[in-house]
């Protein structure tokens, strides 16, 4: 157990009592959330437990009706995904959000292109393709993604490699948090493992990762802590090293309450 006074300094992102209603449906019903520095926090929950709504609120895709989100010690109000991005939060989506006919370098810098210096950049608005290719290669190398040519079109890559490009993009631009929404769901077994390895490397870079996944073996393999969402609230935060997969599922489905767990199973 870590000393409680140590925790506040290491908290990167914290949400308190988030509420989000869609018509008569209450998606978030006072959800709390806490993310520490350089950890992989898995978010699990049954369908309708509020995990997507939580992620949408944290990534700026939805505005909570009430509640507070604090990032790096400051209260933030995200109105659009771009706000979260400017605050240093990047998101990787399940559906491989890349432009297939465009090159790896172009995909990495899509929407954040670097222009040339001087007249060519300011007046002609010319892109600095060389520098983007060079920096892309650097970002890919940092995560040990060994794709040779940055000018290669993304559609020539496999599904896992494409997701690798998406992960590299978020890791390159995130300053605090990378949110991964089911990043392995559309991949095969081997490619899924590859992406898990990448997620570890993103954490080892010092970034905090929020991993939403239905895949319990994946969650137990790489998560440092597990946030369990249930009925729009946080049911528990579990320590994957001290709890069995079936007990975690039991908490998730409501078959077991957090109070029934041994204290070391909670985190």
């Amino acid at each position: 157990m870590t000393a409680p006074e140590m925790i506040p300094t290491s908290i990167v992102m914290k949400a308190t009592a988030l509420v989000k209603r869609y018509g008569h449906v209450t998606a978030l019903d006072g959800m709390d959330f806490e993310l520490r520095a350089a950890e992989i926090l898995a978010v699990i929950g049954d369908n309708g437990a509020g995990k997507s709504s939580l992620i949408r609120a944290l990534s700026g895709a939805a505005i909570p009706d009430s509640g507070e989100i604090v990032l790096d010690g400051r209260t933030v109000h995200f109105r659009r995904p771009i706000d979260a991005r400017h605050a240093g939060i990047e998101t990787v989506y399940q559906e491989l959000a890349v432009a297939p006919a465009m090159s790896i370098a172009e995909n990495l810098f899509l929407g954040r292109e670097i222009r040339r210096a001087g007249f060519a950049g300011s007046a002609l608005r010319m892109l600095d393709k060389k520098r983007m290719a060079l920096e892309s290669a650097g970002h890919m190398r940092e995560l040990k993604i060994g794709i040779g040519a940055m000018t290669q079109a993304v559609e020539t890559l496999s599904g896992g490699q494409r997701q690798g490009v998406a992960v590299a993009r978020s890791a390159a631009f995130a300053r605090h948090v990378v949110i991964m929404d089911e990043p392995t769901a559309s991949l095969g077994v081997k490619e899924g493992m590859m992406v898990l390895e990448l997620i570890r490397r993103v954490r080892d870079k010092g970034l905090s990762v929020v991993l939403v996944s239905h895949n319990m073996p994946h969650v137990f393999e790489i998560a440092d802590r597990i946030h369990v969402a249930r009925l729009g609230r946080r049911a528990a935060v579990l320590n994957p090293k001290a709890i069995s997969m079936s007990d975690a599922v039991a908490v998730m489905t409501g078959a077991m309450r957090a109070e029934e767990l041994p204290p070391e199973a909670l985190s």
Partner: protein
Amino acid sequence: MLREEISRPADNWRERLPAVGTVGPLLALLVASAFFSAQSDRFLTGENLSLVLQQVMVVGVIAIGQTLIILTAGVDLSCGMVMALGGIVMTKLAAELGLPVPVAIACGIGVTTMFGLINGALVTAVKLPPFIVTLGTMNIAFAITQLYSDSQTVTEIPESMTALGATFEIGGTSIVYGVVLMLVLYLAAWFGLRETASGRHVYAVGNDPEAARLTGIATQRVLLGVYVIAGALYGVAALLSVARTGVGDPNAGQTENLDAITAVVLGGTSLFGGRGVVLGSLVGALIVGVFRNGLTLMGVSSVYQVLVTGVLVILAVATDQLSRRGAR
């Protein structure tokens, strides 16, 4: 192990496919030119080639706008009709209301740009399919053109309005200024699409609009911008058409309407969006022009020219479709 998995190079032929896509049209143009020069001695003369360029300049400029729209996975069926309206507006304002020529031209281009804005707004804000929107505006533009002109050709337009139809000589071959303007516009579009962020965003939106949106690109703004720029280009094409014919013709743009789409598709731009090079559309326009011109020189009836154009389009789209299937 991870490294080895990821660094597996893609199959060679697949990587080369896009290259075939850009070289193919040029090859087709060369083959067609070789064929017609074998058929007719008059084909490969400076005078005749200059004529082909002159015949192509109007559809060529329209095709730039059409390329931008097709790159976003849209299509503009109204291009020729909007151009005709622009031509009528600028000639009537100058010839009948006596407005200064630059003002009349600006008004004509303004009207076509407005149509681009309307198309773009309906596609982005109301989220209607471009095919339907432009089918509607095509008819609206045609009707307004007929009503406003009373279906009469506008004649006796000021001479300065047809200045772009004047020629200069290079090595004994006369070239129309309008052709130069067309080439400059192509180079500008090529540069913008290739070298600027906005240009790359056009490709990204056409590739996968959802992915583009998720990376933070203002996809609606990109789409709207593309339709507005296309509208402005139709206005320029209207000016070229007026310069070439010397009149404001309410029935202009009827062949150009579909020829522009044909040129873009022949030039290797995918109707599915996100792939293509704007210079290819110039090549595509030249292919159409060369076929028309060559078949005329051979004395083939114009009905067969239309037939050949139809076959060419289907061939080009089939190539696009098949190469896409191969790449998946």
